[in-house]
């Protein structure tokens, strides 16, 4: 049975924890609003870019001379996984769900006899995956987008991926990130970046349409469009991930605040009961003492 003083201290400590979690919830909520607008605003561009590239890829399909970044280099021995997580914790299952997916994917690929390289974006993912696949990790990025991610930052990541591809360090690149659905649900998404994966439905509609004219010519457009697309897709993944992070944190902190509240109630009842029990005990002692005289 804890003493009254212990209980009092417990209550104080839980109360201050509640203050912290509820403040974090508010901060996350306001950041979420900004991040969500940014993520939703970036969707149309990325989607149209994909559609345009899909058309191009469709019209170039089967032709030699398509850039390797679009068509792949014909191999799939070395996989690069770009793992987008947060730099900070305290956001529920946000980071762990990404790490779990990456872990499963890595194990699968290794089982198929492939080599896997993991490029972590964000500190938390790196820390969590180090234990199982530390040897697969390569130099990643941390501290991106402290004040909301900007395009040049995403471009930096994309540039690294592109230069690695040109150096022949991997054959297939997939990005794993949390797609923002709502504040309480984020979907772990795998998106293949290299070679460019054309959605099955899109390819068909591309065939039905008339062939496109290209100005200046297909190669030149592709040469600029393909790296651009890579940067855009990375940008979009980071934006989505950022919005998801704030959403996840808001939900997690909301739960924590509520739990702290419940705990305070429980502790307060316990405190009052034991206080009363003690008073009763003292009274009995005084009365029985008086009677004995």
């Amino acid at each position: 049975m804890p003493s009254l003083k212990d209980l009092r201290l417990r209550i104080v400590s839980v109360k201050s924890t509640r203050k912290i979690t509820s403040a974090m919830k508010m901060v996350a909520a306001s950041k979420l609003r900004r991040a969500q607008t940014a993520a939703e605003a970036a969707r149309p561009f990325a989607e149209r870019m994909e559609r345009m590239l899909g058309t191009l890829a469709g019209s170039l399909a089967g032709q030699a001379g398509a850039p390797a970044m679009l068509a792949g280099n014909g191999k799939s021995d070395v996989h690069l996984i770009v793992m987008v997580t947060a730099d900070r914790g305290l956001c529920g299952g946000f980071n762990s769900s990404i790490v779990r997916d990456v872990r499963r994917m890595t194990a699968e690929l290794i089982g198929q006899g492939k080599t896997v390289k993991i490029l972590p974006v964000g500190r938390k993912g790196r820390e969590q995956i180090k234990r199982d696949f530390g040897s697969n990790l390569i130099e990643g990025f941390e501290g991106l987008g402290r004040k909301g991610i900007t395009f040049p930052e995403a471009d930096m990541v994309a540039a690294k991926v592109a230069s690695m591809f040109e150096a022949g360090e991997f054959d297939v690149c997939t990005v794993v990130y949390n797609r923002f659905q709502s504040a309480i649900s984020q979907i772990v998404t795998r998106q293949q970046l290299i070679p460019f994966a054309v959605a099955a439905g899109e390819e068909k509609s591309g065939e039905l349409k008339a062939t496109y004219e290209f100005e200046p010519n297909e190669e030149e457009i592709l040469a600029t469009l393909v790296p651009r697309n890579l940067a855009i897709q990375v940008f979009r993944a980071t934006l989505e991930s950022q919005a998801s992070e704030q959403g996840a944190r808001m939900t997690a902190m909301d739960n924590a605040t509520r739990n702290a509240g419940d705990m305070i109630n429980g502790l307060t009842i316990k405190y009052n009961r034991s206080r009363q029990a003690q008073i009763t005990k003292e009274l009995i002692e005084i009365i029985s003492g008086a009677e004995a005289l």
Binding site: A38, A41, A42, P44, F45, R48, M49, R51, M52, T55, L56, F151, K209, A210, T211, Y212, E213, F214, E215, P216, E220, I221, T224, L225, R228, I232, F235
Partner: protein, 133 residues
């Protein structure tokens, strides 16, 4: 004209314009082109310049774009711009600061890649200046 063409202008940050208009004049890398409804499908790169949106017999909106891509088909023009600013929002301050920054970048550039980036920035800034006039 009865038929209209759906004009969409998107930048990485947001969807800027999405409306049905009569004609769009886009600064393609090989010359300006006007896109009307039933235009032959085409994909082209866009150089820094001004997009004129024609609607109801006059030029409605004028928007500066800093390069990008355009996709045209029978019912739609999609311009993917790296940056887009409505011409009415271009100020002299913006133009001069951009020009100065670009010139500094050109002067500071060391590697070939940096030089290319800086030259591109100067090109954009010069086009912006031209658009403001």
């Amino acid at each position: 004209m009865a038929e209209k063409i759906q004009f969409e202008l998107v930048s990485p940050a947001k969807l800027l314009v999405s409306e049905a208009v009569d004609m769009v004049v886009v600064p393609g890398s090989e010359g300006d082109f006007g896109a009307l409804a039933m235009h032959a499908p085409m994909i082209t790169t866009v150089r820094p310049g001004v997009i004129d949106v024609h609607d109801g017999g006059k030029v409605g909106k004028r928007i500066f774009v800093a390069g990008g891509f355009a996709e045209v088909n029978e019912e739609r023009v999609t311009v993917l711009a790296e940056e887009a600013i409505p011409v009415t929002e271009i100020t002299a301050d913006l133009v001069s600061s951009r020009l100065q920054e670009a010139r500094e970048a050109v002067a500071d550039a060391k590697s070939d890649a940096e030089k290319a980036v800086a030259a591109q920035r100067l090109l954009v800034a010069t086009a912006l200046e031209a658009a403001a006039r």
